[in-house]
Symmetry: C4
Subunit: 191 residues, 4 copies
């Protein structure tokens, strides 16, 4: 089975996920700039989730680039990842509308954690029969960044009950790690 | 007429169907974990529907893989299938929000049954002029699993009035039959 | 400029249009089959619109099949068509929720009429520099069916004030004309 | 990294943005033509935004046509553009529902301005290593039209507080500049 349609379907689902999040920015009834102020936390959580979904699309793209064949198991591992990604709009809205309180921040971290686990499972399924890909993945540090991210997510979930904003900060740090364009900066952070 | 655009259009519609279901997970007003509890039945029906739509996308993908040409009739048989699939988000939300009561569970089964019938019609239209594909389809057991599914759906609809959860269990069993990765397990269940 | 991305973009927009219409099927609060009864008119208008959008996708597909190059004008003629198609979900919901009263039925006809006009403009722009395509289009009767449809739409709009259901019947007839699979049946109706 | 999937993903996001705007056209409860009147401002802002998103899709299409390779930076510059485009439905609805009052008209201009800046950044990233593309872009006047647009947006934002409709007119003029099909007309306006 070729990978073309899997990429097209994943692109479609991820494009919808990244776009429907904006529907949670409910249009205010008033027509003054002050009426936008209550939306700022929602906008803030939208920005972070937009970056996260963008990172996943980017990494998904690169990962599928190096594989040639898709097994039935990989197809379901991919749907499993899309399932957890599809819950990001829900926790994004819950966290934004409640101004970063403890439970929503923890729930946001749980969904990010499950996305990372699902991504890791997909990577394993795709590279199971291709040890050379596995070596490549390790060479470019994907695995170390993945484990580091999982550690930060767990820290963020644990921190969210006493200090929700500290928990949120953990998720921002993970996004910055993945965004970092300079390979040397990445290495300094990751090693 | 080539099949590329039919695949792209079907992928788009199925990607939207699988994603807009999550919009029924209404963001709760409270910010405590307890506020998520009423959403659990909705989440449960979302998970099952996500798996069902994933199965349909997967099978649709494989079925179109073996055909070369698309007739006008096949195009409409495909739209007919997409129509019934498009009603899955509606019955998913109705079933989840009413905590698996009798009528919504039966309605869910009716839509699954119509999807299976529409899929069967599409398969017949696609293979009408290609008896070798038909033989292939039978060889890999698609037909038997299809008939078995229809039987379980009817059983689920019948059971939903006295025992809604038993009806729901029928639909879960069908999903498991299609998910089963091991060919030998499939055969034991199907034969 | 190639036509690949124009097709992909049009497919995406049409796939979204055909799918978001189902969001107007609001989940009822009750859990009895009787609670579905008020939805039947909405479902009826959804079915007709689903068929219409399917017909447009089908015809759009065939029309782009015979052209090789897309001019800047054709690109905007295509967006113009997508604009009117994007209003179909709105009039579908208005007509369904008001149980086929006069004004919504007329508005539905106006949007169908504008879609037909926009489709005709797109066809003219695409075939302007290709008289052989124009001849082909006429040979297969697209033009006659197009003009016939426009006539039925105007009749439906005119009929909707005194007899809304007669207006609605006009739109059903047009859909049947385009659905008719048998070329000879088409000819008998069209000529 | 090839550009195929970037185009497909961008097409998906832009197709969703252009289509979900129509969801802000809330179906009126009444069934008379008069019930549509309050929707006219919403429809007006929808039409302008539809044209704007269409212009961006069109230009995005042409810009990617002339590049061969996509760097990691270009990928994020593209997501940055999609982010600002994704806010267009929000400001479109806010402006339409408030009948073109001062703050929403200014906010609409700010989002258009940010889209133009993001588009300009994307163009710079894409052409950084390809001075010949840069020359081509200047030759066809994209840069001058881009700067002219930014000037009109700033004028529109400034005008929106004293005269909101004058601000709105600035945005209409920019759309007309980009729509103008005749190269000579474009030159006269731009030079």
């Amino acid at each position: 089975m070729g990978k073309g349609r899997l990429e097209a379907f994943s692109d479609g689902v991820i494009a919808i996920i990244i776009t429907i999040m904006v529907l949670e920015l409910k249009v205010p009834h008033g027509a003054a700039f002050n009426d936008l102020l209550p939306l700022l936390p929602v906008l803030g959580s939208y920005v972070l989730s937009f970056i996260y979904v963008g990172i996943y699309w980017n990494n998904h793209h690169h990962m599928l680039h190096i594989v040639q064949q898709i097994s039935g198991g990989a197809l379901w591992a991919n749907l499993h990842l899309l399932f957890w990604l599809s819950l990001i709009p829900f926790v994004t809205a819950w966290m934004g509308e409640n101004h970063f309180q403890a439970a929503p921040v923890a729930a946001y971290g749980v969904i990010l954690l499950m996305c990372a686990v699902a991504y890791s499972i997909l990577a394993r399924v795709l590279t199971r029969h291709h040890p050379e890909n596995r070596a490549l993945a390790e060479a470019i540090g994907i695995d170390r960044k993945g484990w580091l991210s999982i550690g930060f997510y767990i820290a963020g979930i644990a921190l969210s009950t006493p200090w929700p904003l500290a928990g949120f900060a953990m998720y921002v740090i993970v996004a910055l790690i993945w965004l970092a364009p300079d390979r040397r900066i990445e290495r300094r952070i990751v090693q």
